[in-house]
Symmetry: C2
Subunit: 116 residues, 2 copies
């Protein structure tokens, strides 16, 4: 990703946006170990079926999950487990960010250089 043209960069932004909704992350988390159908997800996540379907459509469009019809049900499963690498990276970076913020707020001595 040295010199990205605008088009590619827009795609990357869309990719991140697809992961920027708590409910979609919950869905990915619920599918971590097993495929589930819409009804199961609706119950697990405690929200409306329409909403789950809409978010599943988004996740499918970006290739995060795959759909498999089975009778009248639709089972979804993780299409690319590497999405969890992204989440793990973010978690690690967030942890460090929060730690440094806590240090800024709570550290009395303020050793090197403080304030933003």
């Amino acid at each position: 990703m040295k010199a990205l043209d605008d088009r590619a960069l827009g795609h990357v932004a869309e990719y991140f946006r697809a992961l920027s909704e708590p409910l979609r992350l919950k869905i990915l988390n619920a599918l971590r170990d097993q495929a589930r159908n819409v009804g199961e997800l609706t119950e697990l996540l405690n929200c409306s079926q329409a909403n789950v379907s809409k978010h599943l459509a988004t996740l499918t469009r970006y290739g995060f999950v795959e759909r498999a019809a089975q009778g009248t049900s639709a089972y979804y499963r993780i299409a690319d487990p590497r999405v969890y690498q992204l989440c793990d990276l973010v978690c690690g970076q967030m942890a460090q960010h929060f730690a440094s913020q806590a240090q800024l707020l709570g550290a009395p001595p303020a050793p090197s250089r403080a304030r933003r």
Copy 2:
């Protein structure tokens, strides 16, 4: 990220959202090799100064960049280079996603084992 509570999950979503704007990605890309002030970024990215400032505020809030006042200027630099790891991961996953989509659409022979 095994069992994330809602609070942490919301934070992860916010983190991804911060990276879901093309202009913010452009800024990060422009800061890849060197610190720049707001005026330079405004010219480089060919957009309004107010807009650049707003996005820089967002990037600062989430710890992606750091601000250093210097005279009347404000120089911004990458605070955590690991953000590029995220972008690289996304680029790789996107490339594969597009490749498989192209294969689904246009591939006649489907050589070894098709479809991811």
